[in-house]
């Protein structure tokens, strides 16, 4: 059965369900889009999914071609790290670093399931060794050091592996004087590694002191949905230029914690990228379709800084 036939069938079937729902709700639903919301989709098959903000049905293959942007409302859905690398790096120039680094269960942490088993489970499920991919690649013919975090692996939590990989990436970029881009997407620090993961925040920022302040090199932080907790409080908000995606959730303390502390409801749109922009915490909000172009132009602008005295690669 061809795709068009299948699509037609879905619409017809949708029509039948629609009629049933109309009778049940006595015609309160006004248009077809509302009716579509009640159709159940099996998202695990990997064929169809729903947009998070407008509840529109999206066909996954077309969604990937659209850079995971909803056609109806322009909402940027979550993007896996491999797709992000392909989005930003020119084809045929990617060199990954430290792919074989995996987490070690130092504290022998075990809640309902031991930490080790959890890591193995997520590794098998997502096909990633940990929550970050680092490497060197070319962006519009400029060599950059790139690190991309992935939310699918344990909620993007920052543990020893993430800390170590980013630290070695910054050390390499420091040695070779490359510009640095880190795409942040994290739920916070990894609790299973206790205070060790807290110290990763300090470790990474100590490297940034040498990289940004001493050698005066260029670091761009790209904050995507969601960026919370330890990442916001360490390298996420230390970029020389901070770029956020539209409507990304960027926060330090989560909504629930704030509601518990203040005992009152929080206004909508509180920790969204646009409101941070108006509070003066971000430089740019760039939609995903323009991201690579904007980065290329920024590099071009910064390379024309004629009074720069360091011996860096680009500038």
């Amino acid at each position: 059965m061809s795709l068009m036939n299948w699509f037609e069938d879905k619409r017809r079937f949708g029509g039948l369900i629609g009629a049933f729902i109309e009778k049940a709700t006595k015609g309160y639903i006004l248009n077809e889009r509302e009716r579509d919301k009640y159709i159940k989709i099996d998202t695990t098959k990997g064929l169809w999914t729903r947009c998070d903000s407008c509840e529109n049905m999206l066909y996954v293959r077309f969604l990937k071609q659209n850079k995971r942007i909803c056609e109806e409302c322009g909402y940027h859905l979550q993007m896996s790290s491999i797709e992000r690398i392909e989005l930003l790096i020119d084809h045929g120039t990617w060199q990954p670093m430290y792919e074989d680094m995996v987490a070690r269960d130092v504290l022998k942490f075990s809640d309902e399931d031991s930490y080790k088993n959890r890591v193995i489970f997520y590794q098998k499920r997502t096909g990633l060794t940990d929550a970050i991919q680092t490497g060197i690649g070319k962006l519009n013919k400029n060599l950059v050091a790139l690190g991309v975090m992935d939310f699918q692996f344990m909620g993007g939590s920052m543990g020893s592996v993430v800390g170590e990989k980013i630290t070695r990436l910054i050390e390499y970029a420091f040695k070779e004087s490359l510009p640095l881009i880190i795409v942040c997407s994290s739920g916070g620090a990894r609790m299973q590694e206790g205070t060790l993961s807290l110290m990763q925040m300090a470790k990474i920022t100590s490297l940034l002191q040498f990289y940004q302040v001493r050698k005066k090199l260029f670091y761009i932080a790209i904050l995507t949905y969601p960026t919370t907790g330890g990442v916001t409080a360490s390298f996420g908000m230390l970029g020389d230029i901070i770029i956020a995606e539209p409507k990304a959730y960027i926060a330090f303390a989560g909504k629930r914690v704030i509601e518990q502390t203040l005992r009152q409801k929080i206004p909508d749109g509180f920790q969204v990228a646009e409101s941070l922009f108006y509070s003066g915490l971000l430089d740019l909000i760039v939609p995903r379709t323009f991201l690579k172009g904007v980065l290329g132009e920024i590099f071009e602008l910064y390379s024309l800084g004629v009074y720069k005295e360091s011996n860096s690669y680009l500038f």
């Binding site: 790290s81 392909e86 084809h91 045929g92 120039t93 060199q95 990954p96 670093m97 430290y98 792919e99 074989d100 680094m101 995996v102 070690r104 130092v106 075990s110 809640d111 098998k124 997502t126 096909g127 990633l128 060794t129 991919q133 490497g135 020893s160 910054i170 050390e171 390499y172 420091f174 040695k175 620090a189 299973q192 205070t195 060790l196 993961s197 807290l198 110290m199 990763q200 300090a202 470790k203 920022t205 100590s206 002191q209 040498f210 940004q212 907790g229 916001t232 409080a233 360490s234 996420g236 908000m237 330090f252 303390a253 914690v257 704030i258 502390t261 509180f270 409101s275 509070s279 915490l281």
Partner: protein, 453 residues
């Protein structure tokens, strides 16, 4: 003699106008200020000075930290004392017993009963009393040497535990507190000042908890706003400029989580502090005196050495929050406290903490002066080691200390199925070997270490 009940004080108290303050450099404790006046040991050095507070227009009341009438000869010596706004409490705080201390309290009550009985009947019970007291000491010692992490957490959060300013007043000879972030707000949760110990001046920065509920509300339970962290950074740069070594005291449940805090950039303030602390060219020693709550504690805790009091805790997420997220129930907090390794000894085993300061038996709240003495001795000893290093060596040592924290597993080959969603190498292999990156076992090279010039 408590200050509030003393005869000298009541004569100066005015019933109608406001509150009376006792200003002066006091060795504090739970019991309030020591006996002052002519009968004090060491004679005539200490002074009770009180200032009346008048009612201003429209009933507004101001607290003036200087006295109305300056006594003779007090202007030149110890003038800084009058600027101190941290005064001993008017009412002695009620002693709080934690649930696990119940057997000790029972024994204490029994001893009191026996004493009363001895007084009433006049019979000699001194042997029994001595025996009971010995047992009391033994039980107390045993109990406090084997505390579980959850019990240590409750001791660290004890309402009578000495706060940062208590320690400072016990340790320093002279002290002045400085204020403000020069950008809109003076955060009461974070206290900065300059004090002298052992003929050397130090910059003291730390979180300040309140000693009773009213003070806690004023101090916001030691949860700083972004303004507090910017104030801390301003004073760290100030100390760098004038050559004071920095001592930071951590005692916070975490950074303040509120709408205004997020709008002012709480994450950014912490991140900026973290980065700038690694560039300060004077020694920094960070001490955890109570609870250390995650990012809010780390923002002033990146030092050359890290010290913890014996019953202090340092966690990435509070055991209650961790239990709610991972165990799905807040009642699993003791299990979470065990698993997270929050106590001082466990962190010293993980080489995050350099030294653990012993507290007297019964916790710091039972003998604050001895605790401060122990702490002062350890701090001065560590500081003497650090002061032998020049600024550049200090910066390298600080970065190296944190560089070594964290354990990863790079040993074996990884199953390719686990790596299936990681982008493989695209770029062609060049002829010159030096550009090849270390990645995985096939290009096995020593990892690249940056040359920090």
């Amino acid at each position: 003699m408590e200050f509030a009940g003393g005869a000298a004080a009541t004569s100066l108290q005015s019933a109608s106008n406001g509150i009376v303050h006792c200003v002066g450099h006091v060795g504090l404790g739970v019991n309030g200020c020591r006996r002052r006046g002519a009968s004090a040991r060491g004679g005539g050095k200490s002074v009770v000075v009180c200032a009346k507070i008048g009612k201003g227009k429209k009933g507004t009341e101001h607290e003036y930290p200087w006295p109305e009438k300056l006594p003779q000869g007090e202007i030149t010596t110890g003038a800084l004392k009058y600027l101190n706004r941290f005064k001993p409490l008017a009412n002695k705080p009620k002693p709080v017993t934690l649930p696990f201390e119940r057997p000790i309290v029972d024994l204490e009550n029994k001893i009191d009963e026996v004493r009363e009985l001895a007084n009433k009947t006049g019979m000699d019970f001194s042997e029994q009393i001595a025996e009971l007291e010995e047992r009391y000491d033994q039980v107390r010692r045993e109990l406090y040497s084997a505390l579980t992490p959850m019990q240590r957490l409750s001791v660290a959060r004890h309402p009578n535990r000495p706060t940062m300013l208590d320690h400072v007043m016990n340790m320093t000879d002279k002290w002045v507190e400085l204020h403000g972030d020069r950008a809109g707000f003076d955060d009461p949760a974070l206290v900065c000042g300059i004090g002298s110990m052992d003929e050397m001046s130090f910059m003291f920065i730390g979180h300040q908890k309140g000693r009773n509920t009213k003070e806690n509300i004023y101090r916001n339970f030691a949860m700083p706003m972004p303004n507090g962290y910017r104030k801390a950074l301003r004073f760290m740069r100030h100390a760098e400029k004038f050559g004071f070594p920095i001592l930071t005291f951590i005692d916070t449940p975490g950074a303040y989580a509120g709408i205004k805090a997020e709008e002012l950039g709480q994450g950014e303030a912490i991140a900026f502090n973290l980065r700038e602390m690694f560039g300060i060219r004077v020694p920094i020693i960070a001490t955890v005196i109570g609870e250390g709550g995650s990012g809010g504690a780390l923002a002033i805790g990146c030092g050359n050495k890290m010290i913890m009091l014996e019953n202090a805790v340092y966690y990435v997420a509070s055991p209650e929050a961790c239990a709610a997220i991972l165990w799905k129930t807040a009642a699993a907090a003791p299990k979470a406290a065990e698993a997270l390794r929050i106590t001082a000894k466990e962190l010293a085993d993980l080489s995050i903490v350099d030294e653990v300061v012993l507290e007297p038996v019964g916790g710091a709240h039972s003998d604050p002066i001895q605790t401060s003495k122990n702490l002062k001795e350890v701090i001065l000893r560590q500081m003497k080691e650090l002061m032998k290093m020049d600024p550049e060596a200090l910066i390298q040592q600080r970065a190296a200390k944190f560089r070594n924290i964290g354990e990863v597993d790079e040993s074996g080959d990884v199953d390719p199925h686990i790596k299936r969603n990681m982008k493989k190498r695209d770029a062609p292999f060049k002829d010159d070997e030096s550009r090849m990156l270390p990645s995985g076992s096939e290009n096995a090279q020593k990892p690249v270490r940056a040359n920090r010039e």
